[in-house]
C-alpha cells in the first residue's frame, strides 16, 4: 500500500546532516523514527539530497535489520531468541505467539495491530525467556501467559509490565 507522506519532515532531518555518505545511516535512523518505517518516497528524496544512488540506499536499508520498508503494527512484539532464553524454553513462547496472532516472524497482522519480531538477545537473561512489547518487558514466560499479554494490548489499554 502506498500512502502519501509529508516529505518536509524528511527535508527537515536532512538539513541537519552533512551531504556525505557517512550521514546516510543516521539519516535513515531519524527518518524511520519519524515514520516508523522507511517510505519509498523518503528514500528517493534522501538519495537526491545526499547524492547517493537509490540502489545503494536500498542496499544499506535492506542490510541492517533495524530498517523496515513496510508499514508496521501499532505494537511491536520482540521475542528474545538468545541462548539463555533458548535453553529455558524461548521457542515454545515464540510458537505460542505465532499461533495466537497467526503471523510469522517479521510479519504484521492484517489490521496493523501487531508486528512480531525476534531479536538475537535482549540481555535480560535473568528473566529468560523474555519478550518486549513496545518498551515493556515480560519475563519468565510460559506459552500459557501469551494470550493474556497480547490481549491487553489488543484492547488498546497500556498495561504495566509484569515479570
Amino acid at each position: 500500500m502506498t500512502e502519501s507522506i509529508d516529505l518536509s519532515k524528511v527535508d527537515e532531518i536532512l538539513k541537519r546532516y552533512e551531504k556525505k555518505e557517512a550521514s546516510l545511516i543516521p539519516v535513515l535512523q531519524e527518518v524511520q523514527s519519524c515514520f516508523r518505517y522507511l517510505p519509498e518516497e523518503a528514500l528517493v528524496r534522501i538519495g537526491q539530497k545526499l547524492n547517493i544512488a537509490l540502489s545503494r540506499i536500498y542496499g544499506v536499508a535492506t542490510f541492517y535489520s533495524q530498517f523496515y520498508l513496510a508499514k508496521r503494527g501499532r505494537h511491536v512484539i520482540r521475542v528474545c531468541r538468545g541462548t539463555a532464553c533458548h535453553v529455558r524454553g524461548g521457542k515454545s513462547v515464540l510458537d505460542a505467539i505465532k499461533e495466537y496472532l497467526k503471523i510469522g516472524d517479521g510479519e504484521t497482522t492484517p489490521d496493523y495491530g501487531f508486528t512480531l519480531e525476534t531479536v538475537a538477545c535482549l540481555g535480560s537473561c535473568a528473566l529468560a525467556p523474555v519478550l518486549l512489547v513496545d518498551e515493556d518487558y515480560y519475563g519468565k514466560l510460559t506459552p500459557e501467559k501469551i494470550a493474556g499479554i497480547v490481549q491487553r494490548y489488543a484492547e488498546g489499554g497500556q498495561v504495566e509490565a509484569q515479570v
Binding site: S23, V60, Y64, Q66, R81, A84, H86, C125, A126, L127
Partner: protein, 616 residues
C-alpha cells in the same frame, strides 16, 4: 567551567568530596536493564516519594547506579554506607526499609539474601557468595556512582589516570605500560592491546582515529552494555588515554542499536566531559585534543568485526573486507585506526593509575587481569561476574553461580557464543584463560557462559547457533553464505529425525571448508559450535540419526508422550490442559494420550503433579 590544568581537576575532586558526607545514608538502586525490566525504576520512585512523605528528602540520598551484576535477584538495593544487601525489592517493601533500616538501623529479614545451602541470611553485599568470589575492578564503582553524573566518577578518582598520562608520561611510556601490563583485547580474539596501539602509533599519517567497539552481539553476553550503562566515563577515559598514546584526535563509539540506555548515558557523559574540558580542544590546558562521537548501529551482528564496523561508520553496508591492510594502517576513511572493545578500554585507567606490575599480579602467565563473564542459562545465579583470568570453571559455576537449579545434572558450559564451543563436565577444573579454552575447542570470546544441564540437547544447541550465524552472515563470501546454510539444513534434518548416516561426516567436511575459506571471523568460527559438540557429544548425534531418539528429550519431533497407568491418579489436570483434546480417561481412572492427535506441546508433562506423564 573548564578545567585548565591537572591542579584544577584535583581541586574539583576535593570540592565534590567535601560536599559529600560519607556517613550519610544512601539507597543505591540498580538501574541496569535487568533490574529495570524487573520493576527497579518503580522501586526507586517509591523510595523518593516515601522519603519526601516522611520529611527525609535531604537527609537520605537515593542513587540510581549502573548494573550491580546480580540480575537473578533484581531489583537489587544496597543501603550505604553499611552495604546492606536487599534482593527482589518491590514497591510495597519501601516504607518498611525506610522505617526500619534507614531510621533504626534494623534489618528487613525477608529481603536479605538467603544462602541456598545453609539457609542462613546474609546481611552485607560483600558477604553474598555471588560477590565474595569475584574480583571487581572494572565493576568496582558500579554500585557507588550515578552514571549520569560525571561528578561521582571524578570524586572516586576518575580522570586521574588521564591527568597522570598527560602530565607525567610520554605517549611512548603509556604504550610501554599497557604493553607491560599484559592486557589483551576483551572482544574475543585476545590480541595484546599495547601491541595494537604500537602499530597504530607507528603507522604513517597525521589523522588517526580511535574507535570503541560496543557492538556487543553475542546472544547471552551483556557485559559491555553494563559497563557503558554503569560507568561510561571509565570507557571514555580509556579512549582518551589511547588517543594520547597513539596520536589520535578524534574517535567514535559504535554502539549496538538495541542498547538505548547505554547510548543515553554515554551521550550525557560526553556532554558533561566536554563542559569540563575533559573532551574537546586543549584537554586540561594541554595541547592534546580529542573529539568523541557516538555512532548507533542499525542491527547487524557482523558489524562487530572491525572492518565491517568501519564500513558501517562510513555509511555503507557493514560487510568485512580482507586483511591486511589492517585498520591500524588503513582504517576509517583509509586512515590509521585503533579499535578496541569496551571492556578493554575500561581496564586502561586502572593500569595507568596502579601500574602494570599491580595489574599483572592478577591472572595467568599469558592472560593478565580480570574478565567479566555473563553467567546465564541453567544456573541459579544469573548475572555478570568479574573474576581474575585463570580462575577454575568450577568456582565460577558452583561458588559464584550457585550451581544448576532444580537438582539437575550439569552437562556443559558454552563459551564464546556462536564462535565458541562447549566445555563438557570433565573439564570443570579447567582454568578459564585464552589458551586453555582454545585447547578444548572452545574460546573466551566476549565472555558469554551459557550453562546447560541434562535436558539440553547438544544437537539442538549446535543448530541454534548455526541458525544465528546463518541469519547474520552478511553474504559477501560464498563459504560462509552457503556453508552455514547447508550446515543448518543438515542439523535441522537431524533434529527432526530425518538424519542420515553420512550426515556427521558431511558436517565435518563442510565445517572445515567454512572455517578455512571464509573471509572474516564470523564465518571462520561459525562451525565451532558444531565441531565442538561433535567432539564431545557425538553419541547424541548418532542417537538422533540411528535410533531416531533425542537423549535429552528436547527435540520435539523425536519425542513421544505417554502416561504411566500406575502413577496416574486420574486427576484430569492433563486432559484439561491439553489444547488438542488428545488425552482421554475417566475421573480417577488412568488416562491415555492419543499419539495421533498429540502435538507434543508438553503442557500435560508440566501440569502433572504425580510424574505420570513420561517423555520418551
Amino acid at each position: 567551567m573548564k578545567l585548565k590544568s591537572d591542579k584544577d581537576l584535583v581541586a574539583l575532586r576535593e570540592a565534590i568530596k567535601k560536599d559529600k558526607d560519607p556517613n550519610k545514608p544512601c539507597i543505591s538502586i540498580c538501574g541496569g536493564t535487568g533490574c529495570r525490566a524487573g520493576g527497579g525504576e518503580k522501586v526507586r520512585l517509591a523510595f523518593i516519594e516515601e522519603l519526601a512523605k516522611q520529611d527525609l528528602a535531604g537527609k537520605v540520598d537515593v542513587l540510581r547506579t549502573g548494573c550491580h551484576g546480580f540480575c537473578e535477584r533484581g531489583p537489587v538495593v544496597i543501603i550505604l554506607p553499611e552495604e546492606i544487601f536487599y534482593e527482589r525489592v518491590a514497591t510495597e517493601d519501601v516504607p518498611e526499609v525506610i522505617a526500619k533500616t534507614i531510621m533504626r538501623k534494623e534489618l528487613v529479614e525477608r529481603l536479605l539474601y538467603r544462602d541456598p545451602v545453609t539457609g542462613e541470611t546474609i546481611t552485607y553485599n560483600y558477604d553474598v557468595p555471588f560477590y565474595k568470589g569475584q574480583t571487581r575492578i572494572i565493576f568496582s564503582d558500579n554500585t557507588r556512582i550515578d552514571p549520569t553524573d560525571i561528578g561521582g566518577y571524578i570524586a572516586r578518582g576518575g580522570y586521574s589516570a588521564l591527568s597522570k598520562a598527560l602530565f607525567q608520561m610520554t605517549p611512548e611510556e603509556v604504550i610501554a605500560e599497557v604493553k607491560k601490563s599484559g592486557l589483551r583485547g576483551r572482544g574475543g580474539a585476545g590480541f595484546p592491546t599495547g601491541t595494537k596501539w604500537r602499530f597504530t602509533r607507528d603507522a604513517p599519517g597525521d589523522t588517526k582515529y580511535i574507535v570503541c567497539n560496543a557492538d556487543e552481539g553475542d546472544p547471552g553476553a551483556f557485559m559491555d552494555r553494563s559497563v557503558l550503562e554503569g560507568n561510561p566515563n571509565s570507557v571514555m577515559e580509556g579512549m582518551l588515554i589511547a588517543a594520547y598514546a597513539i596520536g589520535a584526535d578524534r574517535g567514535y563509539v559504535y554502539v549496538r542499536a538495541e542498547y538505548p540506555l547505554a547510548v543515553q548515558h554515554l551521550t550525557l557523559a560526553i556532554e558533561q566531559a566536554g563542559e569540563l574540558g575533559l573532551l574537546g580542544d586543549n584537554i586540561l590546558g594541554t595541547n592534546f585534543s580529542f573529539h568523541l562521537k557516538i555512532k548507533a548501529g542499525a542491527g547487524a551482528f557482523v558489524c562487530g568485526e572491525e572492518t565491517a564496523l568501519i564500513a558501517s561508520i562510513e555509511g555503507k553496508r557493514g560487510t568485512p573486507r580482507a586483511r591486511p591492510p589492517f585498520p591500524a594502517n588503513e582504517g576509517l576513511w583509509g586512515k590509521p585506526t585503533n579499535i578496541n572493545n569496551v571492556e578493554t578500554f575500561a581496564n586502561v585507567a586502572t593500569i595507568i593509575n596502579k601500574g602494570a606490575d599491580w595489574y599483572g599480579s592478577m591472572g595467568t602467565e599469558s592472560s593478565k587481569g580480570t574478565k567479566i563473564f555473563s553467567l546465564t542459562g541453567k544456573i541459579n545465579n544469573t548475572g555478570l561476574v568479574e573474576v581474575p583470568i585463570g580462575i577454575p570453571m568450577r568456582k565460577v559455576i558452583y561458588e559464584i553461580g550457585g550451581g544448576v537449579p532444580g537438582g539437575k545434572e550439569f552437562k556443559a558450559v558454552q563459551m564464546g557464543g556462536p564462535s565458541g564451543g562447549c566445555v563438557p563436565a570433565e573439564y570443570l577444573d579447567l582454568p578459564i584463560d585464552y589458551e586453555s579454552l582454545g585447547k578444548v575447542g572452545s574460546m573466551m570470546g566476549s565472555g558469554g557462559m551459557v550453562v546447560m544441564d541434562e535436558t539440553t540437547c547438544m544437537v539442538d544447541i549446535a543448530r541454534f547457533f548455526l541458525s544465528f550465524t546463518q541469519d547474520e552472515s552478511c553474504g559477501k563470501c560464498v563459504p560462509c553464505r552457503m556453508g552455514t546454510k547447508r550446515m543448518l539444513e543438515i542439523l535441522t534434518r537431524i533434529t527432526e529425525g530425518k538424519g542420515e548416516e553420512e550426515d556427521i561426516e558431511l558436517l565435518e567436511e563442510v565445517g572445515a571448508a567454512v572455517r578455512d575459506a571464509s573471509l572474516c571471523g564470523l564465518g571462520q568460527t561459525s562451525p565451532n559450535p558444531v565441531l565442538s559438540t561433535l567432539r564431545y557429544y557425538r553419541h547424541e548425534y548418532e542417537a538422533h540419526i540411528r535410533d531416531k531418539k533425542c537423549p535429552a528429550h528436547s527435540c520435539t519431533a523425536l519425542l513421544a508422550y505417554s502416561i504411566d497407568p500406575n502413577a496416574c491418579t486420574g486427576c484430569t489436570a492433563c486432559a484439561r490442559a491439553c489444547p488438542v483434546k488428545a488425552i482421554r480417561g475417566e475421573k480417577k481412572q488412568a488416562h491415555v494420550i492419543d499419539r495421533i492427535l498429540c502435538i507434543k506441546c508438553g503442557q500435560c508433562f508440566d501440569r502433572c503433579k504425580f510424574n505420570a506423564v513420561v517423555k520418551d
